[in-house]
Symmetry: C2
Subunit: 203 residues, 2 copies
């Protein structure tokens, strides 16, 4: 009885290559390939998949939300996150969303099939380097609004732009940005954005 696998990754080339690579394994069968997160839960149910391999960064529904959707729709299906960026915050959030494993795309290819087997058996698979970072990095120090405002600031708009898009007064926006800068340790707004992004506190 082979492991029924669903793969979701927005880069078609990567998705296809992963499917081809894993399809070679005797005990793994790729039953669906998706380009975004919206249809993942439905595909898992339809094909009664055993494992879902999800990218974190995807258009539409992001991988972490998709993982939660899969867990709700098919509790018996395990989720393995595969991501480009090893952001400590991503790992924690993915685990909270019900993922069983978390590997970065920078790990050797041979370990991938093994990771799929492990999560299928109910084991947890976590990149050890990332796990350590995740412990030291800790949770996001930002409040919900601070995070929202910082995210709104991440594409380079002015305070006035952010205030309009967040329906806040300009003074309030500046206060939140100031707080975010203090908490992240950034000396400018842009630096705070970078730090928060690197830690996976935005999304």
């Amino acid at each position: 009885m082979s492991i029924r696998l669903v793969i979701a990754d927005d880069q078609a080339l990567v998705r296809g290559a992963l499917a081809a690579l894993l399809g070679l394994e005797q005990d793994i069968e790729v039953v669906a390939e998706l380009g975004d997160g919206t249809g993942v839960a439905a595909a898992v149910v339809e094909h009664s998949a055993d494992v879902a391999m999800l990218d974190v960064e995807m258009p539409g529904l992001d991988g972490i939300s998709a993982a939660a959707a899969v867990r709700r729709a098919a509790p018996s299906c395990r989720v393995l996150m595969v991501t480009t960026f090893g952001r400590p915050g991503y790992l924690k959030r993915a685990m909270q969303a019900g993922a069983s494993g978390f590997v970065v795309k920078d790990t050797p290819a041979r370990q991938l099939a093994e990771a799929v087997r492990r999560v299928h058996q109910g084991l947890r698979v976590v990149d050890p380097v990332l796990a350590a970072e995740s412990l030291t990095a800790g949770d996001s120090p930002l409040t919900e609004r601070e995070g929202e405002v910082l995210k709104a600031a991440s594409d380079g708009g002015t305070v006035a732009d952010i205030a309009k898009s967040a329906m806040l007064s300009e003074g309030t926006v500046r206060n939140y940005l100031s707080a975010a800068m203090a908490k992240t340790g950034g000396r400018t707004r842009a630096e705070a954005v970078r730090i928060a992004e690197d830690n996976g506190w935005l999304l």
Copy 2:
């Protein structure tokens, strides 16, 4: 006689998957896999490769510089760029560096082996969508220094930081940033950075 292929991509998972996928083809033989751009030219020479598949974004030597190095070291070896981000500026720069083909990771996997064969035959392979964008987008309007300063600004430092790292006076830095903002159409420094990055004018 099979096509001898060198693959360079910083994400081990992707690199391995691509190698596995292309290794399945009868007429393609993967002779080397690299994780960065520094050793590509040497590997091409050592294995007398016919085609080099390079990622644009890599640590150490970036893909475009690596392409130029390959062309210098082994003029008979064709270069096929494979990138995550379809930045118009990347395409133009890659072609000027001597690449024969340029595909984004978002294209169907089946076309990849075909692209390798085409460049090996001396044909050019270019994503049509990207080619069109590249024509409308045009070259970078930034001068060399403006680009350098904007790149230095991209990690969120203050004017004083940039001035120190670029060995310029603060006033000059402000002038360059002002010019860069005018040319990109950005209303703030951060917006200018985003626009320039999206067009592939930095790096």
